[in-house]
């Protein structure tokens, strides 16, 4: 077990570093970023931005460093300055970036000129890194600064403001769907081909084949737009709280950001996620149970004269639930990652929408941070699943 754990942890670490490299490289090549708008302003010639201004902005977002240094500073916060060992400083003069690039004016034979960047006028050395913002690096939980969405503010503030909403939505939806989906799946399998089973399989079939955004939009049309037109109890179509009071028929006036207001906003996104998850979970449990219920040991248990309840819940379920645990590996990543599409449709201010927004607005440091978190949680989920599996199933030995 100990060797297994150590090996898995090392493997996990390698995968984490590799995926950090990949996501860094991918987003490094992405267009846009904090400099795009500035270049346009500069080229239009109305507002002159001096080379110093550009250098200052670049320094904020570390865009003036060479890529390998940017990567290591982003990942582990190294180098943070010259290395000093026993009172002696090393590497103080080594160049790590370029503060102001050299400008060369090219004059073409046809008369028009063009300014290109070439060489480096003011280099940045290890010694210059000392007066910058020190980062502990993303591996140690420091996400760096947001470039666009909350300019210059730490990404952790951004994440902290969204995290409660996502935890609330995902936590509730996962718990409710397991609590409902698993029993439904078991009951459906035990009563195979009954009317209940047919209804259940049809509903869960529809639920798991329809895209979430279609279900979400239909819900808004029915429960928000339609119900309001009909003068019936309606639900607010989006956001987590409303900013002014409103009146709902049969319920009365709802005061903005009261508990009732929050609850009303919570119902629809929760409902959609629960519906979709239940459909998946119950189908999965049903097929697992059907497979196990055919097996000989279940027949033996029945032949021993055990009550049906004991046979199903104690003998069959224990084996049928095992593959369900692999399904839960992704749950932790989901819990913190949010549901991008559902959150986008219902305007829910969670992490999933933050991800979509950050990609849309080219705020790459935010995107990278969120991606790293979700990869880390997924890897952790896999590890926990493997350990749980070996605890629950004595046939599996970890080695």
């Amino acid at each position: 077990m100990a060797t297994f754990l150590i090996r898995r942890l090392i493997q996990m670490f390698i995968v984490l570093i590799a995926s950090a490299v990949v996501s860094f490289v991918l987003l490094y090549f992405a267009p846009g970023g904090p400099m795009t708008g500035l270049r346009q302003i500069q080229q239009s010639g109305r507002n002159k931005i001096s080379a110093d201004d550009i250098a200052r902005i670049k320094q904020r977002f570390e865009l003036d460093l060479f890529v390998p240094y940017r990567f290591t500073r982003w990942l582990i916060g190294f180098p943070a300055g010259p290395i000093s060992i026993a009172g002696q400083t090393f590497l103080a003069d080594v160049q790590v970036g370029c503060k102001i690039p050299g400008m060369v004016r090219l004059r073409y034979p046809d008369g028009h000129t063009e300014i290109i960047e070439e060489g480096c006028e003011v280099p940045i050395t290890f010694a210059n890194l000392v007066d910058r913002r020190t980062s502990r690096g993303i591996l140690f939980g420091d996400f760096g600064l947001s470039q666009v969405m909350l300019r210059d503010r730490p990404i952790s503030t951004l994440i902290a403001s969204r995290l409660p909403y996502t935890l609330q939505l995902m936590g509730a939806s996962i718990l409710i769907s397991i609590a409902i989906g698993v029993p439904l799946g078991i009951y459906s399998a035990v009563r195979q081909y009954s009317r209940f089973d047919y209804t259940m399989t049809t509903i869960s079939f529809v639920g798991s084949s329809l895209p979430t955004f279609v279900i979400g939009i239909i819900c808004i049309l029915v429960f928000a737009v339609g119900a309001k037109e009909a003068g019936f109890i309606y639900l607010p179509p989006g956001n987590a709280v409303s900013n002014k009071d409103y009146v709902i028929p049969y319920i009365g006036e709802v005061i903005a950001s009261s508990t009732l207001d929050r609850a009303l906003h919570f119902i629809m996104p929760l409902g959609v996620l629960v519906f979709v998850n239940i459909a998946g979970y119950s189908r999965f449990i049903r097929s697992g149970m059907l497979e196990v219920l055919r097996l000989d040991y279940v027949r033996t248990a029945r032949a021993k004269g055990l009550r049906e309840r004991t046979v199903v819940l104690k003998h069959a379920l224990r084996n049928a639930i095992l593959p369900f645990i692999t399904l839960l590996a992704g749950v932790m990543a989901e819990l913190f990652g949010g549901a991008a599409i559902t959150e986008a449709i219902f305007n829910w201010p969670g992490l999933g929408r933050l991800l979509v927004d950050s990609i849309e607005r080219n705020d790459y440091s935010v995107t990278m941070g969120l991606t790293m978190v979700s990869i880390f949680l997924l890897l952790l989920g896999y590890l926990i699943t493997d350990i749980l599996y070996s605890v629950l199933d004595p046939r599996i030995r970890l080695s």
Binding site: L26, F205, V214, V276, S287, E334, A340, T342, N362, L378
Partner: protein
Amino acid sequence: MLIFRRFIKHRVAMWCLYLIAAIYVLSMFASLIAPYKRDAISLDNAYTTPFSAAKDGSYHVFGTDHLGRDLLTRLIYAARVSLTTALTVTTVSTLIGIAVGLVAGYFGGFIDTFTSRMIEFISTFPTFTLLLIAGSIAIQNSDAIPIPSLLSKTIGVIMAINEREGKQVVMIMVIFIALGWTGVARFVRGMVLSIREQLYVESSLALGASHLHNIITHVLPNAMPPIIVAYTLGLSGSLVAESALSFLGFGIQDPTPSWGNMLSFANSYMFNYPWMPLIPTLPILVCSLAINYIGDGLRDALDPRVQTEITRAKRDALLKAIHDRSAAS
């Protein structure tokens, strides 16, 4: 043959197959059946309610959008774009997956270790996030992925779009394929691993058959049925994923119609014109349900062959489908 006959008996699945085929074939004659030009903008006619005449007297069965473009026309053209994208993406990624899975599973050893690690590595990435990032790069920089112009022209002809639009669609396809083949490869590898150990494969080798012969005549046909089911599920998966991506604005971009981007526009006019999102929702709903029914019919047709490895493979396919869904929920 037996499987085929059993599938035909599955009424609903057969009707669904006819339906999808009919929609696709009809969309191929879009220029003949569509009542209007695809991008014919007339701002006077904007927001015409379905089944009514616009201000200038022209009749629109499904109404018009915010630019006065006829929605029925755009739906027909979008069927061509969305369905072709889903078909191409699923077919190519399944073929790549089969090839990689066969080689890895059959030969084992170093190749297997290498590909399995690679597949594991790719699948730790949150797929939908990667799709969003790659889509956003592709729409901002039209040269992000070099696409041969012959390819974008061909796709353009199939989808009735111009070369520039075609290039963008091909880029989206490439991204989907790059991320999509791993699931199939892992699943095929798992099956091939158990088929390889069967006695008939061993005896064929003992009789002096080559590996290639063995793969083609023994391994592949036995692995095929579950692959077909996975293919159908993958088809609806990529249809939904493409419309989700376009819905969020990172997929196929506006003048090119796709059900997803039509829905994303309709979504912003939902409160004034509640009928509007229903129009593109309808084909997405019908097609994803129909494709899933076909998959279900195929699964039922294959069911009597309940062998452990196939049941396990089916369960893996289901697991993958659920994972994909929760990633894109």
